[in-house]
């Protein structure tokens, strides 16, 4: 039994350490970019704050797109290669997009406020594009209008004491050439 427990301990701790390294790798070796991230109001009970990722909302031009009156702004991005499924039914296409892994290409653009340049989505593909900054993202929801919701980071964040709740903020990401990235912090724009 001693050997079995020892093996269990080695495997469990090894998997934990391996997972830690895998997650921390982009922070150690990735290139830094900043993307738009809007801080909400802090929750009194959890000391966490809602975080909205406008760059995670993108709009594709698809055939037979249905009308959508979503009040939220979406970044119009072009598809590099076939991203949206080849189907004439947009509802079926939206269902097929659900849960897929994609690569979002972002480019730095100077902000209107004159602060640090933020990276904004410009195109999307199913594989990383050489020479571009790729973010590997998952589709959490797609609609028959061609709108997609992508995961860029956490939806809640520890409430930062140095930032006002209504401050304009940006998330600092470190990105590997493979598209894997991690969020390292939140700063004022």
């Amino acid at each position: 039994m001693t050997r079995r427990i020892l093996l269990t301990a080695v495997l469990t701790l090894g998997i934990g350490a391996g997972y830690w390294m895998y997650i921390a790798w982009p922070e150690w070796f990735g290139a830094e970019i900043r993307v738009d991230a809007i801080l909400g109001l802090p929750d009194r009970h959890t000391s966490r704050t809602a975080l909205d990722w406008p760059s995670g909302r993108v709009l594709l031009t698809i055939p037979h797109a249905e009308a959508d009156d979503s009040p939220m702004p979406f970044h119009e991005v072009r598809q590099i290669g076939p991203v949206w499924p080849a189907t004439s039914d947009p509802l079926r296409g939206a269902r097929l997009m659900h849960g897929r892994t994609l690569y979002l290409q972002v480019e730095r653009r100077a902000s209107a406020e004159g602060g640090s340049a933020l990276a904004e989505p410009v195109s999307i593909s199913t594989t990383p594009i050489a020479g571009a900054t790729n973010l590997r993202v998952h589709v959490t929801r797609a609609t028959p209008s061609g709108r997609m919701y992508l995961v860029l980071g956490p939806s809640v964040y520890p409430a930062p004491s140095t930032l006002a709740p209504d401050a304009l903020t940006a998330a600092v990401l470190r990105v590997l050439p493979s598209g894997r990235f991690t969020m390292v912090g939140l700063v004022a724009r």
């Binding site: 039994m1 001693t2 079995r4 427990i5 020892l6 093996l7 269990t8 301990a9 495997l11 469990t12 701790l13 998997i15 934990g16 350490a17 997972y19 830690w20 997650i23 921390a24 922070e27 000391s47 966490r48 039914d89 079926r92 269902r95 097929l96 659900h98 849960g99 897929r100 892994t101 998952h138 959490t140 995961v151 860029l152 980071g153 956490p154 939806s155 964040y157 520890p158 991690t182 969020m183």
Partner: protein, 418 residues
Amino acid sequence: VRQPGWLDRESTSWLRDGLITADQRRAILARYRGRAERNVADTLTWLAALAGGVGLVLLVGWNWDQLPRSAQMGVSFGGTAVLFGAALVAASRGRRALAGRLTFLASVVAASMFVSVDDAYHLGEPGVSMWWAVTACLAAALVPGTVMVLLASGVTAAWLIVQGGGPPPWPFLALAPLLALAVEQAPDRIGAGAVTGVIVLWAWSVANDTWWSAFTTSLVVALLAASALDAWAHAPEARRPAFARATPAAFFLFLTLLLLQLVHEQVLSHARDDATASLWPALAVAGALALVAVSALVGRRPGGWRTAGLAVLCAAWLGAWVMYPILITAPTARWAWAAAFGLAAVLTGVSLVRQAARDQDLGLFVMGVLNVIGFVAARAIDADGNLWQSALALFAGAVILGWLARTWAASRREAAPR
């Protein structure tokens, strides 16, 4: 030492009726001496380990955000390592029970490693539950025990539920053999049932998410069918692994769940958008079922005709399932079709119970009864406020359950020694 109350009473009456002698009564009581106390003590210490583990996680969670990242990692990784170390010390001193509980506790606290990494690096995706499931399944396979199997099954089920909405959880295919191995090492109905439940949950979630993908769904249903084939290939009298024993019942339950959904969503609401998408999965299952039927008949095993009959019945349902969107378009005909599928679902439960009565298999019997109750409840809910339809469904359920009770009681009387 206290004896189980019922045994004390019964053995006294056996002695009074002359069925056993006083020596035999003492021998019987000695066999069960202290078992109840041990069971209570075991349960309490497992509960203590679970409460301690959860308490530790909550303690770590308290003011977690204020801790620096190095402290977060130190607490979670260090805590897990310390508990494994304590388990090793206990095992080396021959205290196996304590070592088992400490390993269980370490496997619970191992979750904190993945939680702290996700939290420290602000991950937006749920990676915690999958990696925790991997470590829990490894622990269950290496340190056998029903409680370890239950922990691994529970964590894996939680991962599958959290994963819902994301990509299909294919890594489960690597975890399933570990769970099966864990049950084989600690054969137990509860553990086997939990593992089978997780397999059905996985198959269900994948089939539901990717039904339009002919390839993936074929793979899922073919795996299920192969698993059922494996279990059916053994006669009831032969030694069957606990894992395989639980599988045919789960396979029937899975089919019934499919039928229930079919009646509710597909037949009555709208036609499936792509009728031919289910052709390949249905062919895969039908092929496996044909193998079952041939294997049961050619092998001349006891109950071969029954098994072949069940397999043909399943294949017939699948055929009907594939063909209905093509053949049936009129609303009235759809109702007739829905009624036929309902009958098939009830027949599944009844077949399970009859098989259970023949094999004197209580677990299979419970599956059959749950099958019937599930069907009746779903139909009553479907009626959606129509009281007479709900009442009709419940009356039908009552009649079927009454018949099942009589069947079981009769089979017990036949099985009793004369």
